[in-house]
């Protein structure tokens, strides 16, 4: 029984981090109907920022997350304003293609700049853990989980309470109407992309805290973001959090009760199943129509 609880706790903690990786991806998809294939590269850029700051000045990855997030906000804003905004109205393949090209440039650029070495931000506490009975709770993952939950909550508050946040949601619901209301859609889109990138960057610092990373990991983070966003449903801010937790726990349970190599197969089976049964995600409705025949 204790191994069940161990797997569940570990899966939840892991899921929180996955949620933070995905929440920005989900936001961009929900508001702009853009799938950002360079999202995983943003996560890694944040991780490298935090790693460099830790290596140079011994900065704790918590502060590194703030720095990485800020840096990535600028990158995300600029990329959207200068590049992606130019083809927002084109068929969806084009945004996919553009962000795919960007991903190639960023990943290969990182490999040149930082080498392909595996890195991790080594702290004294991250791998330590405390016990509840037989179940171990690692500090590093707990911290990452806390940061993820706080960031998601802050995002929800920002979107629902601040003028800018409401402008983002409004633009997501109906861009034309929003523009008529005097919202500068170009700026709002760039802002949204910036916030998404900032969250990805901060999540990257947490990845560096609890695990390892190297440039080829970018594609894996993007793929995870896909799965989680769909599980949670787009446009629902808590959706990504829910999707992340579900994925984390399902993977942990699958790992526990099936041969270890089946874990990913189960994750994708859940993804496809959810899409067929509830295309708008486990929670709530999406801004964009999911199905031909309305569900």
């Amino acid at each position: 029984m204790s191994s069940f609880w161990q797997a569940t706790i570990y899966g939840l903690l892991q899921g929180g981090l996955l949620a933070m990786i995905a929440v920005g991806f989900s936001l961009v998809w929900g508001v702009m109907n853009i799938i950002n294939l360079s999202h995983g590269a943003y996560v890694l850029l944040g991780a490298y920022t935090a790693w460099e700051l830790h290596a140079a000045w011994g900065l704790d990855p918590l502060l590194g997350a703030a720095a990485g997030g800020t840096a990535m906000f600028v990158v995300g804003y600029a990329v959207q304003r200068l590049l992606v905004n130019r083809i927002v109205n084109a068929p969806i393949f084009l945004t996919l293609l553009l962000t795919f090209g960007l991903q190639l440039v960023l990943v290969q650029g990182m490999a040149v700049l930082f080498t392909a070495d595996y890195r991790s931000i080594a702290t004294s506490y991250a791998s330590e853990s405390f016990g509840i009975g037989d179940v171990r709770v690692p500090y590093g993952r707990l911290l990452a989980f806390g940061v993820a939950a706080a960031a998601t909550a802050a995002l929800v508050l920002f979107a629902r309470r601040s003028r800018t946040g409401i402008a983002i949601l409004a633009t997501g619901m109906d861009r034309t109407a929003a523009r008529l209301m005097g919202i500068n859609a170009r700026h709002v889109y760039a802002l949204t992309a910036g916030i998404a990138a900032a969250l990805a960057g901060a999540a990257g610092a947490m990845v560096g805290l609890v695990g390892t990373f190297s440039p080829p990991d970018a594609a894996r983070f993007t793929l995870l973001s896909f799965v989680i966003s769909v599980l949670g449903g787009l446009g629902n801010m808590y959706g990504a959090l829910l999707g992340g937790l579900v994925l984390g726990v399902v993977q942990a349970w699958a790992g526990q009760y099936l041969p270890g190599t089946w874990v990913n197969a189960v994750a994708f089976a859940v993804l496809v199943g959810v899409l067929i049964v509830r295309p708008a995600g486990l929670a709530g409705r999406a801004f964009y129509e999911a199905r031909v025949e309305a569900a």
């Binding site: 293609l97 960023l106 990913n264 994708f268």
Partner: protein, 324 residues
């Protein structure tokens, strides 16, 4: 110009292509073989993604299933490659029909993600069926004397992939001129309107996916035989799907010639970059893709056609139309 002339010229090109390997070095033959493979793949994707407008992000699933069906039939059932090839395609078309029924009800990105999930999931399933597929260690197609089909040699595979590329282009031409093809285009433009106009959209979409899957599986099957040893990582590599999409979109989706131009162009450019800049070629390729998308969002072919036929530069107009 008459249809006769088109036929004549096409025949001349194919005959020229058949004669080509005798003039090339072995490695060059392989490069051109890879080009032909991607012509067939891009054209296959074009049927579902270009004509019908459903961005199938899991196309590589059909490639992998085709390859693994062939490998398993040859290795465990001692089939000849020439039987395994059509059976793989037929099996894969049925698989596509089965997953198509639920998945093609999804729209836009949701369809893209669901098919991506199918492809990734299939890779994991194949990896885990170790006794049958060899798992992560790969499976080797029997090609030695006495068992299996003798390996075709570089020139043999060149001809095989040439045949598949011709087949794929021919199917695309037939579809583009048929009633079926007009139905698919109508779905692409406005699905509800197409249904209202009497197109059986579900049947048309599933048929398009199955045809597309069958061609992709033929290519995967031939690829497995060519490689001898195949691994799930490569046979279900999402990069293969992305490459098909990039080729189609750069060339011009929904046309017959666009994917052809895109596949030939991109494959030669990336091959050239690889040889010229072994360390930085991917970076350069990424930058090229970004630039092409920003400058020619409607595809190179469409831009070129507008420039020639209507003597206007559509560049600025498309950019204005697509930007925010």
């Amino acid at each position: 110009m008459s249809r006769l002339l088109v036929t004549l010229i096409s025949t001349a090109v194919v005959v020229g292509m058949i004669a080509l390997p005798s003039q090339l070095y072995t490695g060059q033959v392989r490069v051109v073989t890879a080009v032909l493979m991607f012509v067939a793949l891009a054209q296959a994707w074009n049927i579902i993604g270009g004509f019908t407008g459903y961005a199938c992000f899991g196309q590589v699933a059909f490639f992998g299933i085709g390859g693994y069906t062939t490998a398993v039939l040859m290795e465990h059932a001692n089939w000849s490659f020439w039987w395994a090839l059509p059976v793989s395609a037929a099996g894969c078309a049925m698989f596509a029909g089965l997953i198509g029924l639920p998945l093609l009800r999804l729209r836009g990105h949701y369809f893209a993600i669901a098919t991506l999930g199918v492809a990734e999931g299939m890779r994991e399933v194949i990896t885990n069926l170790g006794p049958l597929t060899g798992g992560g260690a790969g499976i080797t197609v029997p090609t030695v004397a006495g068992r299996g089909t003798p390996w075709l040699g570089n020139d043999g595979f060149y001809l095989l992939f040439l045949a598949l590329a011709v087949l794929a282009v021919a199917v695309a031409v037939l579809i583009s001129r048929s009633r079926f093809g007009y139905g698919l285009r109508a779905i692409n433009q406005d699905e509800d309107a197409a249904a209202a106009a009497g197109v059986n959209t579900t049947r048309a979409k599933v048929a398009a996916l199955s045809v597309s899957a069958a061609i992709t599986a033929l290519v995967g099957s031939a690829y497995a035989f060519q490689q001898i040893t195949i691994y799930p990582q490569r046979l279900f590599d999402v990069d293969i799907t992305v490459t098909m999409i990039v080729m189609v979109v750069i060339g011009g989706a929904g046309t017959v010639l666009g994917p052809l131009v895109g596949a030939v162009g991109l494959q030669f450019v990336s091959e050239y970059l690889r040889q010229a800049y072994p360390q930085e070629h991917i970076l350069v390729l990424g930058a090229v893709i970004v630039l092409v998308v920003l400058l020619f969002p409607a595809g190179l072919l469409t831009a070129a056609r507008d420039a020639v036929s209507e003597r206007r530069i559509s560049l600025l107009e498309t950019i204005r139309a697509y930007r925010l």
